[in-house]
């Protein structure tokens, strides 16, 4: 069996753009029309490089005196040995050389992305969004709304969901060919339902057990949920999971940090709220009530806090005045 050599030109995401088949070496690469592979990259020389066998019988790429040279992981080389996974940069072009003995990875089973699954997800998403919209409108209905009001509300929810999923589907279509609208809609509806349930959960925990601090930092839990939702959207578009996790986690950390900063700027405290405003029916109260004397004690303790706050404010002001003076 004769040996063939394949020179593959890749784009910057590592995807294949062109593949050239050769039966013999050397292969000349460059911009001029005397080459075996002609590059359309102005950052390459007319005769840029040559692919040949070295003394050990291995494939080698050698620079022919170009200005920009060869780069391997950002480092310049005058020549480099090539194996099947080495990607070399010539000017701004990436190439990889493999021969016909290269072993490809195992076949991936086609169990995912089945047609019926997509429709099931789409249906589930619609049901979840409708249910959420109805429950939210019903809970907030204090003016004896008619059925038409509920339907109008539901339409708004569905349209927003479609807009959100549509943007992701468009991105999906652009970057990986298929739109996956149903799946994006499903991811969105799961995310929004989780957010809503979380909302009720910490209202309940706060009210029932007097765990106010749940409501103080609610925005950070919400950010985590939003980050998870976005992670799943991105994962559907692109499979580089580890990187997406890092990106989503760092975006979430950044948003949390910004919220902490904003809260501190406006109230000198990191909490979102100065107190818990959630009220639920009396039946939801589980922890005990405190006596007036205990509350009076708490007010007494508050004096230390507020006096410290005043000290801090005065100190900051004094420092500011000092720095303002030349």
């Amino acid at each position: 069996m004769s040996l063939f050599y394949f020179v593959e030109v890749l784009n910057h995401s590592g995807e294949l753009q062109a593949r050239h088949k050769f039966s013999e070496l050397p292969i000349r690469v460059g911009r001029s029309y005397t080459n075996d592979i002609i590059l359309d990259d102005p950052h390459t020389a007319a005769e840029h490089a040559i692919i040949e066998l070295n003394a050990n019988g291995k494939l080698r790429l050698r620079d022919l005196g170009s200005q920009n040279g060869l780069k391997l992981k950002g480092k310049s080389h005058s020549q480099t040995e090539l194996d099947a996974d080495t990607i070399v940069q010539l000017g701004r072009t990436l190439i990889r050389v493999r021969d016909s003995q290269y072993l490809v990875s195992a076949e991936v089973s086609d169990s995912s992305h089945k047609h019926w699954q997509t429709w099931l997800m789409f249906g589930c998403a619609i049901v979840m969004i409708c249910a959420l919209s109805l429950s939210t409108s019903w809970l907030g209905d204090i003016a004896n709304n008619k059925v038409s009001d509920y339907i109008m509300d539901m339409t708004k929810w569905l349209m927003s969901a479609a807009a959100w999923a549509g943007i992701w589907a468009l991105a999906n279509r652009v970057f990986s060919g298929t739109a996956n609208f149903g799946r994006h809609l499903f991811i969105f509806s799961c995310g929004i339902v989780a957010l809503d349930l979380l909302d009720h959960l910490y209202a309940f925990l706060g009210f029932a057990f007097s765990w106010e601090w749940f409501t103080y930092y609610q925005s950070h839990l919400q950010i985590v949920l939003v980050a998870i939702t976005i992670y799943f959207h991105l994962r559907l578009i692109n499979n580089k999971r580890a990187m997406l996790k890092v990106i989503c986690a760092s975006l979430a950390a950044l948003s949390s940090g910004l919220i902490f900063m904003g809260n501190y700027q406006s109230t000198n405290q990191y909490a979102d709220n100065l107190y818990m405003s959630e009220v639920l029916p009396p039946a939801a109260r589980i922890s005990r009530n405190h006596s007036l004397a205990e509350f009076d004690q708490a007010i007494q303790q508050l004096k230390t806090d507020i006096d410290a706050e005043r000290e801090k404010a005065l100190k900051e002001k004094a420092e500011k005045n000092n720095t303002n003076k030349p």
Binding site: I142, S266, N268, L274, P281, A283, R285, H290, L292
Partner: protein, 455 residues
């Protein structure tokens, strides 16, 4: 009530009952009657102005940087001294920010000169400044002024709206006890810029110092009684030196005031009013007025009854800081159309955004709050107390208490108590009394109907 200093115009307190009558009565005055009033000034006023004009001054507060004026009021020389009485609110910027502001006077001849702030009385809104010339002796302050009779003619002098020196005639109408320090009620025009100007009898005997007028009324003006001016004036000797920093003095005066105010408010136990099954504490007195309102519109799924009690006076410290007052608010809501969950969520909305805390505030610190579910006999509620400390004056705090009841599924009582400018101890005491006063009748919970949820 509006203070009479340019260019800052204070918003008047909302006062629906008065606002409605004032517009109708003013329209009923015939045009010709007004013109005769204007064209025939009494000869007394003419003579009085001629005699007083040498001792009448305009007091201006200017920015050190740029010498532009930031506030204008009036003042007058006492006897033959070089001391001038004016309002505290006219020169408050000089007292609080002497590094930024300075003051000067301008007399009726247009001559001007520097003023030196010697003493302040924040509670009665008075100040004494020293200038570089003597008075002619026209304005007289006596220790025991002759009592005034209702309807007696009085004359207010000053420089309203920075237009020029005015004299206006009116009548004495007794004393107002709406604040914790009494004020003379004067029926005559007193306009912004006349603050600190004298109000005298025809013989030059000072009756009071122009201080405020009611914006929602017609010619309802207020004077600081002459006796307080006399007391402040008597404290000053020719050797008196201006204090280096007025802030501790003002803080001290505010502390004295709050103890008088809180002692008066707490002297008697709070009165109780009924809202549904709840009994709520209010303080109704000469100083604190209560108003009720109810909202029972047919299309609503709930109805509310409210009681709103408020002091009509406050101590002016600066444009951004008026203090020394309290307010009480109760809001009772009930429903027969909502179920308990939806009703509770609605009450949660009513209960939110009650604290406005801002690090940018120059006068007070940001709020610090404490909250708890509390039970008092058979009444249970959630209570939040937030406190702010005054930055410039130590020992003074603003208290905010708000509660929502948590014992009835289809009824709710939300109460709010605001105490501005009090010592920590007094604030705590008032809150404790207020919370003790929030109670519920026992028999209501025994009825099975009320514990069922409406569909």
């Amino acid at each position: 009530m509006t203070f009479l200093r340019l260019p800052v115009l204070f918003a008047c307190l909302a006062f629906p009952a008065f606002a409605a009558t004032s517009s109708s009565t003013s329209n009923q005055v015939p045009e010709d009657q007004i013109s005769t009033m204007k064209t025939q000034p009494s000869s007394t006023a003419q003579e009085l102005y001629a005699a007083a004009q040498n001792d009448l001054l305009q007091i201006r507060v200017l920015l050190k940087n740029g010498h532009s004026q930031s506030g204008v009021g009036s003042g007058f020389l006492i006897g033959t001294s070089n001391l001038v009485i004016t309002n505290f609110h006219v020169i408050s910027k000089m007292a609080l920010e002497p590094e930024t502001y300075f003051g000067e006077f301008k007399d009726t001849q247009g001559k001007s000169g520097e003023i030196e702030l010697l003493a302040v009385d924040v509670l009665h809104d008075l100040a004494v400044v020293r200038i570089n010339r003597q008075g002619t002796g026209f304005f007289k302050l006596t220790e025991t002024p002759a009592p005034l009779n209702q309807g007696e003619h009085l004359y207010s002098l000053g420089n309203p709206l920075d237009l020029g020196f005015f004299i206006s005639e009116g009548t004495y109408n007794g004393l107002s006890h709406r604040g914790f320090s009494e004020q003379v009620m004067f029926t005559g025009p007193v306009n912004p810029g006349m603050s600190g100007g004298p109000n005298v009898k025809a013989d030059g005997q000072v009756a009071g110092v122009n201080v405020a007028h009611r914006r929602d009324g017609e010619l309802v003006s207020f004077l600081v009684p002459a006796t307080y001016a006399q007391k402040l004036f008597a404290r000053i000797t020719p050797e008196s030196k201006p204090p280096a920093d007025f802030k501790p003095i003002i803080g001290e005066q505010l502390l004295v005031y709050q103890s008088v105010m809180m002692d008066t408010l707490l002297a008697k136990p709070l009165t109780h009013k009924n809202l549904g099954p709840y009994s709520v504490p209010v303080r109704e007195s000469e100083q604190v007025r209560c108003w009720g309102s109810s909202d029972t519109k047919g299309e609503k799924t709930y109805n509310t009854d409210q009681i709103n009690c408020r002091m009509e006076s406050a101590i002016y410290v600066s444009d951004d800081l008026q203090t020394g007052n309290i307010s009480i608010h109760h809001k009772f809501t009930q429903t027969d159309k909502l179920n308990s969950l939806r009703f509770a969520l609605l009450m949660g909305k009513f209960f939110s955004n009650r604290v406005d805390s801002n690090t940018k505030d120059e006068d007070v610190t940001t709020s610090r709050c404490t909250e708890e579910f509390i039970g008092n006999n058979n009444f249970s509620s959630r209570a939040v107390v937030c406190v702010e400390a005054y930055q410039k004056f130590s020992g003074l705090y603003n208290f905010l208490l708000f509660t929502t009841s948590t014992d009835e599924p289809l009824m709710n009582l939300q109460s709010r108590l605001v105490i501005n400018g009090t010592s920590y101890e007094n604030g705590q005491k008032f809150i404790s009394q207020f919370l003790t006063g929030l109670t519920k009748e026992t028999k209501i919970t025994a009825e099975p109907n009320n514990t069922k949820e409406a569909k």
